[in-house]
């Protein structure tokens, strides 16, 4: 049996095996066991078979054999023969495949390409009657010829233009069209097509606009966008198309579909980018006349944007290669009607159609220096006149806004001092108007009634842009602007309207980047002079000044000066009595300024440490033992701010310095014999106990490997210090001091305790806990100690299961159950001292672990608990959920939901608010989970939203938020039975005493009212 016979028998059932047979033949050809002639002859009896399938398979066999041969195996003559052979039988399936393989061979020449091409044209005039797959193959062959043998086809000239357009016309399949478009684009770009422009154009434009929508499973991976961009490339391929393209595109701009309009505009932009300048120029005004409608009568924002892009594309193209400001250039002729229209619209600057004028001018102004020049010359003088004659501030504001937009394009064209733009020989056309524009915006800003805030904001923007424009204002003029901005920040009436102040500070910040010296010399002294030397009564104006100073200190030498001056001012202020709010604000400013610096690299770090940490702490300590006068520094709140500064600076210190700080965490840099540290001491006065706040922050700042005071080799172990801190905490009754001692316990357990000692600390903790359960009168302080210590262990995942199970036992305790339940809210809460930044041991899995360990136990114990202590479990649950990531919560919904629903019946408003929060998240993330509970959810949430006497504002607020989540997420059929209940139930809430709650109720009610209405369109 010959190979071809075997092939024909196998290819039906097993194509893979058949291909092996073809490969066999190829191998034998290669090793010269058989010859090409023999192979072709062997086809003889099948190639003329009546059955088209057999004929096709026979040719396919030959094609496969050719495909398996090495690229240089066949001689030119052999290829020639095969090519002719296949072309003769081109209509038989398989021939196209063979030709595709042949044409890829190096010896396939131009003549053969032409033969093949002609055979295609001749035999496939009925192409569109054939099935898609065959058409695709033919088009692919055409595409191959186009890319490999382009010159051969090109030499055919008109013949190939007409041939190809005829061949592909009527194609409808998106896969085939992708090829058709790319083949045609080559013809359009590379062939001489002047005689066939219309035919070619029509052959592609008939597909415009593309409305193809890929089938849902999208098997081909072709999107409408793919087709649109290929088609667009064709339409934009040649200037010859302009006479056909523009009129038809403009026509299609009247479409009612926004998608079509968008496509049209994008196509116009594409044409503008590629058509020749002279061609584009003859349509530019017509285009403007049609496109402007989309901008002036804006219906859809993004269409207007698109239209602006088109105008800009035209302007960019028309100004290419010209620096001439002559009025006869294409760009000038394009811009003339535009500036005329804009000037006309600006006569009524508050009308709707005047609004986009600024956008048009700005988009076109950015296009090129020439365009900007022409626009400014045409628009600025009338704008100035209109502004002068305007009969109201509203009008002036609208005109100023246009100016601001023009200045934006000026900056885009000419740059700022820090961002230079490409150079142009055209002088900035705004130069002749410099004095007028400066005067106009200065006056608008400074000589307008103070309550015209929005007008002045625009004026301020204009003035700022003038200052930012490169090579425009003189230094002294910018200096005046800076003074104006200063004045606004410092002098304006601070009653409520701080929009302008914010803008002014922002402007100064901008200017500080390009003109730091002006800020240093003008703004700084002015601001410092406004800071009082003693705490003002009942007046916080200094805050704005301090905020301004802080934001302006971007440059290092500016912030150095600021830090020095603020410290001096703080000194002075502390000497006078008065509210502590002012010195605290100064400290906060210092904190802010330092936090903006890269402290570890800061050359002044050492001096910050000495002045701010050691210096200020010294003052506190000396005052606490009566050697210095008491000041605002000694107040607990001030100490916390000072502590934050200290932590930040110490974190940046090198290891050596940190070591010495660590050894003074309790003696606080005091000289020996003056201040006696708080630990290991009895009956310490309150003022001195407050210094523990500072000890905590020093401890937070040093690295975890440092030996703390009292834990270094000579002085004892960490555990001894911990025990002492526990003693202090148990006895402490002043809340801020107690909290700081508790934090130290947590921090030491978590950060400084060596891993091998966690077991001992756990044992200690266990004893504390059993102590709690035995005695009935133990103070809340003991519960606090237990939970802070537990927090330290849990976060580092040390003995976590034992710790948590001990803590969970406490929930059933009658005396300390409630306090313990609340303690669970502490375990995972973020803490500013026990934090990653401070080197605490916070393991990623801690939250998930706590959740996974606690939830099953809580669920089980809750079921078996006495009624009176059941709430404890729910409170603990809410404390854990508050800080558990949503993904983790979602894993246990079945257990959680019943518990959460019961929590809603508790009276505790914190727990209720937190529960509703969790429920909202669950409903949002997994609406299916709550479907089954809709009835009880709706009635409980309505109850929580209603009664302002029992439910706090935040509970009511959250309940409404949660209720609003359901419509749209949960199936309508599930919600419908409750619709009336909710809509009626919320009627009362519409009269809630709180505005925020009412607002939420209105929204929630609207969502339920509209829920089952069909969505519009």
């Amino acid at each position: 049996m010959s190979d071809v016979q075997r092939y024909l028998l196998t290819v039906g059932p097993d194509r893979g095996k058949a291909l092996d047979i073809a490969q066999d033949t190829a191998k034998r050809l290669e090793s010269q066991q058989t010859s090409l002639i023999e192979v072709v002859q062997s086809l003889g009896e099948f190639i003329n078979d009546e059955d088209a399938t057999i004929r096709a398979r026979t040719i396919d066999y030959l094609s496969q054999v050719v495909g398996q041969l090495p690229p240089t195996f066949l001689s030119r003559q052999q290829i020639q023969v095969l090519c002719q052979f296949l072309c003769d039988r081109i209509e038989d399936g398989g021939a196209i495949g063979g030709l595709r393989k042949l044409q890829g061979l190096g010896r396939f020449n131009q003549e053969m390409a032409i033969t093949t091409f002609r055979a295609l044209l001749e035999h496939f005039q009925d192409l569109q009657l054939r099935p898609q797959a065959q058409r695709l193959q033919i088009l692919e062959l055409l595409n191959d010829l186009m890319s490999k043998h382009r010159n051969a086809l090109k030499d055919l000239g008109d013949q190939s233009v007409v041939g190809i357009t005829d061949l592909v016309s009527g194609e409808k399949d998106p896969r085939n069209l992708m090829i058709v478009f790319s083949v045609l684009k080559v013809v359009m770009v590379e062939w001489e097509i002047s005689g066939h422009a219309e035919t070619l154009f029509d052959s592609v434009f008939c597909y415009f606009p593309i409305t193809f929508r890929p089938p849902p499973d999208d098997p081909y991976g072709i999107t409408a966008q793919d087709l649109k961009s290929r088609l667009r490339d064709c339409i934009a391929a040649s200037s010859y198309f302009a006479p056909y393209a523009f009129p038809q595109l403009i026509d299609k701009l009247d479409s009612t579909s926004p998608n079509v309009k968008k496509d049209v505009l994008q196509t116009i932009s594409a044409c503008a980018r590629t058509y020749s300048i002279s061609t584009l120029s003859s349509y530019s005004v017509t285009l403007w006349d049609s496109i402007k409608f989309e901008i002036l009568n804006v219906q859809e924002e993004d269409l207007a944007e698109e239209a602006l892009v088109s105008l800009q594309a035209i302007a960019i193209r028309l100004s290419q290669g010209t620096e001439s400001t002559d009025l006869k250039t294409p760009i000038a002729r394009f811009l003339r009607p535009i500036t005329k229209e804009c000037n006309g619209q600006l006569r009524e600057p508050q009308h709707k159609q005047a609004k986009p004028v600024g956008q048009i001018l700005s988009a076109l102004g950015i296009a090129s220096p020439v365009a900007f020049f022409l626009i400014v010359k045409a628009v600025i003088p009338p704008l100035n006149t209109l502004y002068q004659d305007a009969d109201g501030i509203g009008k002036q504001r609208a005109l100023l806004e246009v100016l601001v937009q023009l200045l934006d394009s000026a900056i885009a064209v000419y740059g700022t001092p820090s961002i230079p733009a490409p150079t142009s020989t055209i002088e900035n056309p705004l130069v002749p108007f410099k004095d007028r524009l400066f005067e106009l915006s200065s006056q608008a800003l400074m000589s307008t009634a103070a309550d015209e805030v929005s007008f002045r904001v625009v004026a301020l923007k204009a003035l700022l842009k003038l200052c930012l424009l490169r090579k425009y204002l003189q230094n002294n003029e910018i200096g005046m602007a800076v003074q104006y901005f200063d004045e606004i920040v410092l002098l304006e009436d601070p009653s409520g309207k701080d929009d302008l102040k914010k803008e002014a500070i922002q402007a100064l910040v901008e200017l500080s980047k390009i003109k730091p010296d002006l800020i240093m010399n003008i703004t700084f002294p002015a601001f410092m002079a406004k800071l009082p030397y003693s705490s003002p009564a009942n007046n916080q104006d200094y805050l704005i000044t301090l905020e301004g100073l802080a934001q302006l200190s971007v440059e290092r030498f500016v912030s150095d000066t600021l830090i020095r001056r603020l410290l001096n001012r703080l000194d002075a202020v502390l000497q006078n009595d008065g509210s502590s709010a002012y010195p605290q604000a100064i400290l906060s400013t210092l904190h802010y300024v330092l936090s903006q610096r890269d402290l570890p690299q800061d050359p002044n770090l050492q001096s910050y440490h000495e002045k701010l940490v050691v210096g200020l702490i010294n003052r506190v300590v000396l005052a606490s033992i009566g050697q210095n006068p008491m000041t605002a520094l000694n107040e607990d709140t001030t100490l916390e701010i000072l502590g934050r500064i200290a932590t930040m600076i110490i974190r940046a210190l090198d290891e050596h310095k940190q070591k010495s700080v660590a050894l003074q965490v309790y003696s606080l840099f005091a000289e020996e014999g003056t201040f006696i540290p708080v630990p290991f001491r009895k009956d310490t006065p309150r003022l001195q106990r407050s210094t523990m706040i500072l000890s905590t922050s020093l401890m937070a700042g040093v690295g975890k490997s440092m030996a703390l005071q009292y834990t270094d080799v000579d002085n004892g172990s960490i555990q001894r210090l911990l025990a002492e801190l526990v003693r202090l905490a148990l006895a402490e009754s002043v809340p801020p001091i107690r909290r700081t001692i508790l934090r130290q316990i947590g921090l030491i357990t978590n950060k400084f305790l060596p891993a091998q000692e966690t077991k001992d600390v756990f044992d200690y903790l266990r004893n504390l806990i059993s102590g709690l359960q035995e005695t009935t009168t133990l103070s809340d302080n003991a519960v606090r100690v237990v939970f802070w210590e537990a927090k330290g262990l849990v976060l580092r995942l040390a003995q976590i299961e034992e710790v948590l199970s001990r803590l969970l036992w406490l929930l059933s305790d009658h005396s300390c159950g409630v306090a313990s339940a609340r303690g669970f809210g502490l375990l995972l809460a973020p803490d500013e001292i026990i934090s990653k930044e401070n080197g605490a041991n916070i393991r990623l899995l801690a939250k998930q672990k706590v959740f996974n360990i606690c939830i099953p136990i809580i669920a089980k114990d809750f079921r078996n608990a006495e009624t009176s202590i059941k709430p404890n479990y729910l409170i603990a649950l809410s404390g854990i959920l508050k800080y558990t990531p949503t993904e983790v919560i979602m894993q246990e919904l079945d257990i959680l939901l019943p518990l959460l629903l019961q929590s809603l019946d508790l009276e505790d408003s914190d727990v209720k608010a937190a529960t509703i929060q969790s429920l909202s998240i669950i409903s949002q993330e997994s609406p299916k989970a709550v479907e089954g509970h809709m009835g009880s959810l709706v009635s409980r949430l309505l109850k929580a939203a209603s009664d302002p006497k029992t439910n706090s504002t935040s509970v009511r607020h959250n309940a409404l938020r949660c209720l609003r989540v359901f419509p749209g997420r949960v199936k309508d059929s599930t919600l419908l039975p409750y619709k009336n209940t909710v809509v009626r139930g919320l009627l009362g809430v519409l009269d809630d005493p709180k505005r925020g709650v009412r607002k939420e109720a209105v929204e929630c009610r609207a969502a339920w009212i509209n829920m089952d209405e069909p969505q519009s369109e």
Binding site: V453, E547, V1002
Partner: protein
């Protein structure tokens, strides 16, 4: 809505519309400045979980007692984001609804109860005197207010005197409960109304 009746109306700038913040009695400016608040980690504000909630002394509990009555500004905030059926612009920015044209009058002022019956009158100003959409706009305002206000309010929406050629006729239509109800049965009209009210919902979140 095939033809736009007033293609080029005057527009007020959003920042110039009356808002509560602008009228403010400086309440918000008393809280510590925004910039330095960033120096305090948010965790510092988490209340001590051991303290029972009733005793927490922060401002929220103090706030809970004060009553914020429904005032004209609140009514304005409810209706000004409604969009015009002709333009993608709000009734507020087109000055169709204006704060001074909203009036709240207690029905029995002498009684002084906590939630008195109140009559609310809203006067709307069409952008042009022959605007045939005035009725639709009035209807939109009315529907919004009826959905958003508690039942003790009597809502009266009218065309402002001298701003419309057929004001009387429109007012009669808007005041007639049955005609309003009938209008709301009309599917097309309902579609237009829903589109107008869409803007109100998104603003809040």
């Amino acid at each position: 809505m095939s033809e736009v009746l007033n293609a080029n109306p005057t527009i007020r700038n959003a920042s110039d519309l009356p808002s509560r913040r602008r009228q403010g009695n400086g309440q918000s400016s008393k809280t510590p400045s925004g910039l330095f608040a960033t120096t305090v980690p948010s965790s510092a504000y988490i209340p001590d979980p051991f303290l029972p909630p009733s005793s927490d002394s922060d401002e929220s509990s103090g706030d809970d007692d004060s009553v914020e009555p429904i005032d004209e500004q609140e009514i304005y905030d409810l209706i000004s984001p409604i969009s015009d059926p002709e333009h993608p612009l709000t009734l507020g920015s087109l000055s169709v609804v204006n704060l001074p044209d909203i009036h709240l009058t207690p029905t029995f002022p002498e009684k002084g109860s906590a939630s008195p019956l109140t009559t609310l009158t809203v006067l709307i100003t069409p952008t042009i005197t022959h605007c045939s959409l005035a009725t639709v706009i009035g209807l939109g305002v009315r529907v919004r207010l009826e959905q958003a206000l508690p039942p003790r309010f009597r809502v009266d929406v009218r065309i402002k005197e001298g701003t419309h050629s057929t004001a009387e006729q429109v007012n009669r239509q808007l005041g007639d409960k049955e005609r309003v109800a009938a209008a709301l049965e009309n599917g097309t009209l309902l579609g237009v109304l829903r589109k107008m009210l869409e803007g109100c919902e998104n603003l809040e979140t």
